[in-house]
């Protein structure tokens, strides 16, 4: 199933989940949540930044970094070039600083449309820098996840990003700097099995795909029957892996409340 809300004609589009034809204006005003079925459609990094942080406060960093093809992996260079051109970004992760309810934060925001949000060297570097900036400036880090997993075209270098990003999160934790992760559709595999799952607080958008392996792999591996809500945010929540499922329109205020209470107990930093 495509998760995309497809444009049907000028001013209209169709919800991929309930198939209802929607006014584009209503859809956008509702933060790309279907007014009919409540399905949370995917956002670009830009859209996410716009609806989350204080207006105009986001400053992008790490813009001059570029992915390369260290393994000379077949077709990777072309895919990368195409993604960079189409998405007008250097990676699926957009990193920087912002304010949220007036509080300075560091942030990294994933965009699934860029090579499935996969985590290669550059992606891991941006997350790591985001967490390092948080630690250095004593500001909370907020990471929006959306990823199919590691970027296999960078081989073992990608696997090592799991360690690198988790290590950066460990240092935030040790320094008492809050790290909040928000799962959006989908948050999978190498990303879920590293920094995303050890955030201080984990929020998720409703019905986001959240899991370790592809559904096919899980079915092959397991003998038990597969529950209906398998690998959804709701399944993860009901198995203790997520703190709260937060509808998109409440995400900003929830994050503000959290960073106020979690950041407020210690001597103020930056």
């Amino acid at each position: 199933m495509s998760n995309k809300a497809e444009t049907k004609s000028e001013g209209f589009l169709q919800c991929a989940n309930c198939k209802k034809i929607l006014f584009s204006v209503d859809f956008e005003q509702n933060l790309r949540v279907c007014p009919n079925c409540g399905h949370h459609h995917r956002l670009s990094a830009t859209q996410r930044i716009d609806i989350t942080f204080d207006p105009g406060s986001f400053v992008e960093l790490d813009r001059d970094l570029r992915s390369v093809n260290p393994l000379e992996f077949p077709e990777y260079a072309d895919k990368l070039a195409a993604a960079m051109e189409r998405q007008e970004a250097n990676d699926s992760m957009t990193s920087g600083t912002a304010t949220l309810g007036g509080i300075a934060v560091t942030t990294a925001v994933a965009d699934f449309h860029f090579m499935g949000g996969s985590m290669g060297s550059l992606n891991g570097e941006k997350i790591t820098r985001t967490l390092e900036r948080a630690r250095e400036s004593n500001c909370p880090a907020i990471v929006f996840c959306a990823s199919g997993g590691a970027r296999m075209q960078e081989g073992l270098l990608s696997l090592m990003q799991m360690a690198k990003t988790t290590a950066a999160a460990q240092r935030c934790s040790k320094a008492g700097v809050p790290f909040l992760a928000v799962f959006t559709d989908p948050t999978m595999a190498g990303v879920l099995a590293s920094y995303a799952s050890i955030a201080d607080v984990i929020l998720s958008e409703p019905r986001a795909l959240v899991g370790f392996a592809g559904l096919r792999v899980s079915k092959q591996a397991g003998v038990g029957k597969v529950p209906d809500d398998f690998q959804t945010a709701e399944f993860a929540f009901n198995h203790g892996m997520i703190d709260r499922i937060v509808p998109r329109k409440e995400m900003r205020t929830t994050l503000i409340t959290l960073i106020k209470s979690l950041g407020g107990g210690k001597p103020s930093g930056a």
Binding site: P74, E125, L157, M160, T166, A167, L192, A193, F212
Partner: protein, 327 residues
């Protein structure tokens, strides 16, 4: 379709079976002349076998490395623990309701030095394979590892992990108990340690399941072991929708010890005997032990804080990309 590791080694095993049978016959032979002829034949076969092994292993491609790394005659974690360490006491349980036998661990002595050993364990018999879940560790395996890492930190014991897994368990039950969280938390815990840690990839270093207990100050690989972000079969089936192109994927993934060293993702390659670790266990144990002892010795010079920072620095620099402003 590509060869499996069993198929690939079959000619060698057949040769060895032939030699063994000839030896049986020669043992019973009473006629000295005939016996001499048989012995000559055995010698010839053995020369052929050795030559075969030499050729076969002299220039292994990526896919052959995968086959060798998966060979069932290679020593497994508990074999290393028995040979390299002594006084090992296996500790069990995640203290959360579950046990896992695909990761084993406990305190042991390395010469006169207490260490904490943790490793993936595959099985050899059908029963043991099932018990060990074919080396696919479950969440409780990583949670046990975390408990042992904490114990190592508390009692100032260096941590040694032995890596040999096709990957973590991806089944419905593992998902329900949070396999992702367990792996992440284990990596997290390893970065907390202020005691030295050393990981040795002894066979298959399979993606998240491997890095889950391989976030160490030093990571060493046996000469014919592999370390990969994804199994070549999985990679081929995602990229080309053809699992049978696994050998191509293996090559593209650069999953050999030699590539890992080239990209500076591991610290050292531990040599294997000619024909691989399965051909001479004691020699392999000797090499592994020497490497571990050497690196613990080097890390012993670090303060706890330096051990902690060294580990971060090691992984922090991993990743290759361009910086248009600074490059």
């Amino acid at each position: 379709m590509y060869k499996t590791h069993k198929e690939w080694e079959r000619p060698l095993y057949e040769l060895e079976d032939g030699i063994a049978k000839l030896k049986e016959i020669a043992k019973k032979e009473k006629d000295p002349q005939k016996r001499e002829q048989q012995m000559a034949k055995i010698a010839e076969y053995e020369t052929r076998r050795n030559r075969y092994v030499e050729v076969m292993y002299s220039n292994l491609g990526a896919w052959e490395k995968v086959l060798v790394a998966r060979a069932e005659r290679r020593p497994y974690t508990l074999d290393y623990i028995q040979a390299v360490f002594h006084h090992f006491i296996e500790l069990q349980g995640d203290r959360n309701g579950f046990v896992d036998h695909a990761i084993v661990g406990g305190p042991a002595m390395l010469d006169n030095r207490p260490v904490m050993v943790v490793g993936h364990q595959k099985g050899r018999t059908i029963q043991e394979r099932q018990l060990r879940n074919f080396g696919y560790a479950r969440p409780e395996g990583y949670r046990k590892a975390i408990r042992l890492f904490e114990m190592a930190e508390r009692f100032r014991m260096p941590v040694i992990t032995l890596i040999d897994t096709p990957g973590a368990d991806a089944g419905v039950e593992a998902e329900a108990r949070g396999i992702s969280e367990a792996i992440a938390a284990s990596i997290f815990k390893m970065f907390e340690l202020t005691v030295p840690s050393i990981s040795v990839i002894i066979g298959e270093g399979g993606s998240g399941g491997a890095i889950g207990i391989a976030a160490s100050n030093r990571v060493l690989m046996l000469e014919h072991s592999i370390y990969s972000v994804i199994a070549p079969e999985g990679c081929a089936s995602i990229l080309w929708r053809q699992a049978e192109r696994a050998p191509d994927a293996a090559k593209a993934l650069k999953l050999t010890a030699q590539s890992a060293l080239e990209f500076e993702l591991i610290d050292e390659i531990i040599p294997e005997p000619t024909g691989g670790s399965d051909k001479d266990w004691p020699a392999t144990f000797g090499h592994v032990k020497s490497a571990i002892v050497k690196h613990i010795g080097l890390l012993d010079k670090f303060s706890p804080e330096e051990v902690y920072e060294d580990r971060y620095a090691r992984f922090r620099k991993m990743g290759i990309f361009e910086d248009l402003l600074n490059d």
